[in-house]
């Protein structure tokens, strides 16, 4: 029995980002360093070039946003997507698809579209990604409500440290339409992706941190955003990675199970 949790050491090699007023990682860098320059405007999810036209038509926003940031992270890391194990984390699957299914099931005819049902799986984004990249690597899709980002980072880092192979982490949350938005209000879409390496990259040291208090963003607008979307809980880490200095922070996890992250200097 070990009294102190082990530390996971991994390196960040490439980052993809999409969120309110955050168009991609390169243009977000100066904004995360000096948030006074950041202006919150609604997230615009572009059509992912990676998906063929037919898939693009079938794919919901959560798929598109996940694929866009995953593709960007792989390009930034200079690694072939098909070589990467993946961890996708999201509080829910495709929210618009879920609403359409629930509406159909509450209607008299209960006519369910086969494509809608296929797209209702939580691992829909992972499925489209692995088909588009023809990757046969292992992939997991998980959920931990508001703690989904920390749970995904823990799983991706654990896989990377365990297999000594790179892992692609993709975190993405997209709001529901009404009426589900009324019971699970997310303010906007937010997606981030990171290629984690066993050796090299910007080094992170992760440890389970029990009741430790989550690090807040110093900028009030970013702090509001952090609290509004599960994937945006990663903002303190993104801000640390945007700068050259070493940093120590705590990511919000489940009650009693925060995730401490030490970031080495660049």
């Amino acid at each position: 029995m070990s009294a102190v949790s082990a530390v996971l050491d991994v390196g960040v090699a490439g980052i993809g980002l999409l969120g309110p007023g955050l168009v991609d990682w390169a243009s977000a860098l100066p904004l995360l360093r000096d948030p006074a320059l950041w202006q919150r405007v609604p997230t615009v999810v572009p059509a992912p070039a990676l998906l063929p036209a037919t898939e693009r038509r079938r794919a919901g926003i959560v798929v598109k946003a996940s694929v866009v940031v995953a593709d960007a992270a792989c390009a930034a890391a200079g690694v072939a997507p098909a070589s990467l194990a993946t961890v996708f984390t999201s509080s829910t699957g495709d929210p618009a698809n879920c609403h359409a299914l629930c509406e159909a099931l509450a209607s008299a005819g209960r006519l369910v579209s086969p494509t809608r049902f296929t797209n209702s799986v939580h691992n829909v984004a992972a499925g489209y990604w692995h088909i588009a990249t023809q990757s046969m690597q292992t992939s997991t899709s998980l959920a931990a409500f508001d703690a989904s980002l920390a749970a995904g980072l823990l799983e991706a880092a654990a896989q990377c440290a365990y297999t000594l192979a790179p892992v692609l982490l993709v975190a993405c949350d997209v709001p529901y339409l009404e009426p589900l938005h009324g019971v699970r209000p997310l303010a906007d879409s937010f997606a981030l992706a990171m290629v984690l390496l066993p050796q090299g990259g910007r080094r992170l040291h992760l440890a389970l941190a029990g009741d430790a208090i989550a690090t807040r963003c110093a900028h009030p607008g970013l702090e509001t955003l952090r609290g509004q979307i599960p994937a945006a809980r990663g903002l303190p880490l993104l801000q640390a990675l945007a700068g050259p200095a070493a940093a120590a922070l705590v990511l919000e996890g489940l009650p009693g199970m925060a995730l401490a992250v030490q970031v080495d200097a660049a």
């Binding site: 099931l105 296929t118 691992n123 692995h130 997991t140 899709s141 823990l154 440290a161 009404e178």
Partner: protein
């Protein structure tokens, strides 16, 4: 990987509550499937329905979690006094050192499906008694189990369709071996809901008769519900079985059809063998994914034959429980461990004539014998594959 002790496990399915009725049914070749309606769905299909869900008493302090899926989880925690084993482990290691990793495909979405019938006529709002976070949300079942058992360790739901509750074994094994936790509650819970009943119907994958995996005239799957749990510990005085490997792969082929040659499935099986340091000949029995759809069984057969050849005895047990979707990996992990403990190779049910195009050694009669290692396949939509490998306790 380092062999990991399974110190307790249980299952609740259409076969009954706990290991004993499950083993009896497997020995006797008795199916739990019935041609019944569910809720207002009168589809004429055969279903694996769990008894006793509605009659269960419910803790007042967890009232917001009350839904079919969490009730099924609770039945699982009570079966074989599984929760007592978890409490013993919590006393030994500390509640923060025990993870909860569960698979589900639809969680408690039935609550929202029913709530959509009761939307406010003017505003369209959902009724105030819908507790989305505690019932519908994907994570809700792991949240319920973590809270009901007073655990404080890392937790999440893995939701990769029908491979979900196999993959959680690998996830827990990694975290234990890396020293982040000492033990984990793993498994899967998936309950009947309208999304899956009408969805599989829309895909024309539901059999109009009882499911017949490996049969020449098989016409699709029969849907079931189940809860299955296992307790994995860093070490255990009297393990019931050993987890030896968890192979995982993706097809990268199609969202709802497997790779026709079973290439992704074969990759997962090979990886499980490699993790265990085993050869295919070391495996005494394979519990197949075997859903009973023409395409799935054909692809799996090719994958199995490409890795194991034509001799290794194998069968699907979905003719007993139905396809329990996100719980199937956990249910069939339990079946695999029961097989190891009892020396039972269960027969595949409902086969009239084995599909002559399938080449693996499919069992239509149960056999008894000393089993050393058992593999269990689970494959899901999105091309998600997992293969678990269990070893007999000495």
């Amino acid at each position: 990987m380092t062999p990991l002790a399974v110190s307790d496990y249980t299952v609740v399915s259409a076969l009954g509550h706990g290991r004993a009725p499950t083993l009896q049914a497997l020995r006797a070749g008795r199916s739990g499937l019935r041609q019944v309606d569910f809720e207002t769905a009168t589809l004429g299909a055969w279903l694996g329905v769990v008894d006793g869900i509605e009659a269960l008493d419910w803790r007042a302090d967890l009232a917001d979690f009350d839904c079919r899926n969490n009730r099924l989880a609770e039945l699982g925690l009570r079966a074989d006094a599984f929760s007592s084993s978890v409490r013993r482990a919590a006393a030994r290691f500390g509640a923060a050192r025990i993870g909860v990793f569960l698979g589900t495909s639809t969680s408690g979405i039935l609550q929202t499906e029913l709530a959509y019938r009761r939307r406010d006529a003017v505003s369209g709002a959902l009724p105030a008694d819908l507790h989305y976070a505690e019932t519908h949300n994907t994570y809700s079942v792991a949240r319920y189990v973590r809270q009901a058992l007073d655990l404080r360790g890392p937790a999440c739901v893995v939701s990769t369709a029908c491979s979900s509750s196999a993959k959680v074994f690998g996830q827990a094994a990694r975290l234990i071996e890396l020293g982040l936790i000492d033990a984990a509650v793993v498994g899967g819970v998936d309950s009947l809901c309208l999304t899956t009943l009408y969805g599989f119907q829309a895909l024309e994958l539901v059999s109009p008769e009882i499911c017949r995996p490996w049969d020449a005239q098989r016409r699709g799957l029969s849907i079931g519900e189940a809860a299955a749990f296992a307790l994995l510990e860093r070490d255990a005085a009297a393990p019931l079985a050993w987890l030896l490997g968890c192979g995982e792969s993706s097809d990268g082929h199609h969202m709802s059809s497997p790779h026709p040659e079973g290439a992704g499935a074969a990759l997962a099986m090979r990886q499980a063998l490699a993790q265990a340091g085993c050869t295919p000949a070391d495996v005494s029995y394979i519990n197949l994914h075997g859903t009973g759809t023409p395409g799935n069984d054909a692809a799996e057969d090719r994958g199995v034959v490409s890795v194991f050849g034509r001799d290794t005895p194998c069968s699907s047990t979905k003719g007993y429980t139905g396809h329990t979707l996100g719980a199937a990996g956990g249910v069939e992990a339990v079946v695999s461990m029961l097989a190891l403990q009892d020396g039972l190779l269960p027969a595949g049910l409902n086969v009239r004539q084995i599909d002559p195009t399938l080449q693996s050694n499919y069992l239509t009669q149960a056999r008894q014998g000393r089993l050393e290692r058992v593999a269990s396949n689970s494959f899901g939509f999105g091309g998600s594959n997992a293969c678990l490998l269990f070893g007999a306790a000495p």
